[in-house]
Amino acid sequence: MSEVQLELEILRYDPEKDQEPHFKTYQVACREEWMILDAVNHVKDEVDTTLSYRWSCHMAVCGSCGMMIDGQPKLACKAAVKDYADKKVRIEPLANFPIERDLVVVQDDFMEKLKRVKPYIIRKEEKPIEEGEYKQSPADLKRFKQFTLCINCLCCYAACPEYALTPEFVGPAALALAHRYNADSRDQGLAERHKEISKPEGVWDCSFTDTCSIACPKHVDPASALQQLKITTTVQWYKELIGMGDK
């Protein structure tokens, strides 16, 4: 096992002590199979226990450890140390979110927006459980499956310049999940979701930079979801214009 030397420049901020964030440098001898998260954990355990950040699963599925690594939003548990070998690596909290403390950002905004787009199955009539499952062909499943893979890590929000400029924008992950339910053969909630999505700060603030999809560590392609959503939203708008609005 060989070692990889890294110089981590970590953005530190404690609102009780600091006026503004500042960088602190740590030298870390990393094992070559480590991820950046392992290096940060090493700092926390062995060098500076005051460092704060979120992490849990270490397998790129819980979405806790999104952070800016050399300026790009990434999951620290999925960014291999050897890709940064013998270099300075800048680690900052996810861009476009307020910094709560060190690498921890305030995520309330996303939680509120996610709720707004009604990311759950909406039915005009519920089918009783006793009648079994809704049939859904593998093709129907595949139509929306990709968009169910979002882990809410918020890397896409950190990558989105429109969210940076217009914080009211509902944003990639939440809208992609709205699209996920619209595209689910079991769902009948398109018209209801349309009310939120068609607002100016809904899907229309997206200018299709595609940076959300480039950043997505789970290859969800929110940019695709949002463009599809623009089309369905437009169709729905014209339908409502001529009085045929219901899905």
Partner: protein
């Protein structure tokens, strides 16, 4: 301290907590629910479950078969009334999830698909590719957003339970972003706080799985049950211990030793099955305890592959083909490539057994009730004795649904009966005590012990003494070490004094919780002089139904080691028998 009055307080917002909360909210919109968790719901470790959830749905299956698999898989340490209730409710709950939008994998005709799993006689595991837990968690979380009566308290770290007049009446929790303490006053409390796999050094569990809820209940006088039963998953990815689902073997993956030999046939799970044609309850589809134990024996014989990260064997999926792997096991492929640099389509993946699941937990019954009234527990933090001495893969996801709903029903009934005024002065006093405890921990100076240091000593000791195979000597050593570590815990000093997101403090609290639970694991294992399921003693190799067909209860004794008692197993229709995974179980 801020006071929040609610009807039902739920600690933990993973699969169990969310299911409980939704069940309360849907049927009782007049009751307030406080859903308290140290992480946002979607960060909960339910998200890491891969393989699937068991429930009888296909015509060739039956509740009876699911019952028998579960009871036998648990080496008869299961409570059979619980198992019976569970297998009955399982299909309904999985269908409910389907109605809520869970993207279950499908058959060509549009019905839900099932896959084979270890220790199951029939294919009955519902799956969503190999991200079943993830999809269950997100489906539940997103569905919970439509319930206006669920008030979430995300990133609130629970410290202690509040007990008065002989019942549980709430919980004290810290708002992590401010360091402020909140006193949640509730008519009933449901703990859904997950397992404690992080006690061990090599674990599939996320960093958050530190047994906080279990330890809170334990300190509040609820015994833990069967804590010595720790499940090793046979296929953890080498180096990191990341889970590679049992689905790998369900889909036809095989285990090979350093000579390429399928070694399971030497450990009572043969005869060897043809490649690509897995036979249920045979070879690779044996139960997790047996497979992990077989690895240990191979290691003793020198048949494993030495690597810088420890000894390993191989999980070979190369014969499954790229298309099948991408469709059924996409995450496994991604994880193997990222974290081990091995593409399972082309090469066998290096694996070793890894701590995965605590069969033990807070002592609960078929109603998800603990012995303390007003306190309920669900999921991995609880031990309803569904899983006995060894949990069958894909029963745990279903468990948190079935018992989440059950706990909700009973917690609501209990809450509705609580008309008397809460004993507010007593509760306030306890809350202040919890606050003083935290304050002392933060302010104390002059300590020399480090959190990370104690944590790794604990983990090492548990693995050495209470690993796959145990002996009197190693267990005694571990008991001593843990007792000593508990003393040394008093000597830690926090360097972080901030009120804002003080992870130094949270790690200290987590370590305290884990040390208490580690002691119940080691002491329980030391006292159980037999081998059963995941608890294997080299000095007592046989199962001893005469003396130990009983649940271990460990009760908190302050700074001393827990008191160990025993509790009867509920046996209704299946008498203890032989666990047969030799292909004869057809």
């Amino acid at each position: 301290m801020e006071l929040i009055k609610t009807d039902i307080a739920i600690v933990g917002a993973g699969g169990a907590g969310l299911r409980t909360a939704i069940a309360v909210a849907e049927s009782n919109p007049d009751l307030k629910v406080a859903l308290i968790s140290k992480v946002y719901p979607m960060r909960s470790h339910t998200c890491a479950a891969e393989g699937g959830a068991a429930g009888v749905i296909k015509p060739d299956d039956s509740l009876e078969l699911h019952f028998n698999d579960t009871v036998g898989g648990g080496d008869w340490l299961t409570d059979q009334d619980v198992v019976e209730y569970f297998v009955n409710e399982a299909p309904k709950e999985l269908l409910q999830l389907e109605h809520w939008g869970c993207p279950w994998s499908r058959e060509p005709n549009g019905s839900v698909g099932v896959r084979p799993f270890g220790g199951m006689k029939i294919k009955r595991t519902w799956f969503a590719a190999d991200k079943s837990g993830f999809h269950i968690l997100h489906t539940l979380f997103q569905t919970s957003l439509k319930c206006p009566t669920i008030e979430r308290f995300d990133e609130f770290f629970s410290i202690d339970l509040l007990m008065a007049d002989g019942r549980c009446q709430g919980v004290v929790a810290m708002e992590m972003k401010s360091g402020r303490l909140f006193q949640f006053q509730a008519k009933a409390v449901v703990l859904c706080s997950g397992g404690a796999g992080r006690m061990f050094p090599f674990s599939t569990n996320g960093a958050i799985k530190t047994g906080d809820g279990t330890a809170m209940a334990y300190r509040a006088g609820v015994p833990t049950k069967d804590m010595e039963f720790v499940q090793y998953h046979p296929t953890g990815l080498l180096a990191t211990g990341i889970l590679l689902t049992e689905g790998c073997r369900g889909e036809g993956g095989v285990l090979r030793n350093k000579d390429g030999y399928r070694y399971l046939q030497d450990y009572g799970m043969g005869p060897e099955t043809p490649l690509g044609e897995p036979v249920l309850k045979t070879m690779e589809l044996g139960p997790r305890d047996r497979l992990s134990q077989a690895f240990w024996h191979e290691q003793q014989k020198g048949n494993t592959i030495p690597t810088p990260w420890g000894d390993s064997t191989h999980l070979d999926m190369t014969h499954l083909g790229e298309k099948h792997i991408d469709e059924r096991l996409p995450l496994v492929r991604e994880l193997s490539i990222i974290y081990a640099g091995v593409d399972p389509v082309k090469e066998p993946v290096p694996i070793r057994p890894v701590v995965h699941y605590m069969m033990g937990g807070i002592h609960t019954n078929i109603d998800a009730e603990t012995p303390v009234s007003g306190l309920f527990a669900v999921g991995e933090c609880a031990c309803a004795s569904l899983n006995g001495a060894n949990r069958l893969g894909s029963n745990s996801l279903t468990e948190l649904l079935v018992f989440g709903k059950r706990a909700a029903k009973n917690a609501v009934e209990f809450a509705r009966k609580q008309n008397s005024e809460a004993n507010e002065s007593e509760l306030k006093e306890q809350a202040d005590k919890a606050q003083a405890k935290v304050r002392e921990l933060v302010q104390k100076s002059g300590g020399t012990e480090s959190i990370a240091g104690l944590r790794s000593e604990m983990a090492k000791s548990l693995e050495e003494g209470a690993g796959i195979y145990r002996t009197e000597e190693t267990l005694q050593q571990t008991c001593n070490t843990i007792a000593d570590l508990r003393k040394r815990y008093a000597g830690i000093e926090l360097h972080d004094k901030s009120n804002v997101f003080n992870t130094d403090l949270f790690q200290a609290l987590e370590l305290g919780n884990m040390l208490e639970l580690a002691q119940t694991v080691a002491e329980g294992a030391l006292a159980r002089k037999e081998s059963r399921g995941s608890h294997q003693r080299l000095d007592y190799e046989a199962r001893d139904d005469e003396q130990y067909l009983k649940h271990t209860l460990a009760s908190y004794q302050g700074e001393e080691a827990p008191r160990i008692d025993y509790h009867d197993v509920v046996i209704t229709k299946s008498q203890p028998g032989v666990r047969d995974y030799s292909g004869g179980a057809k």
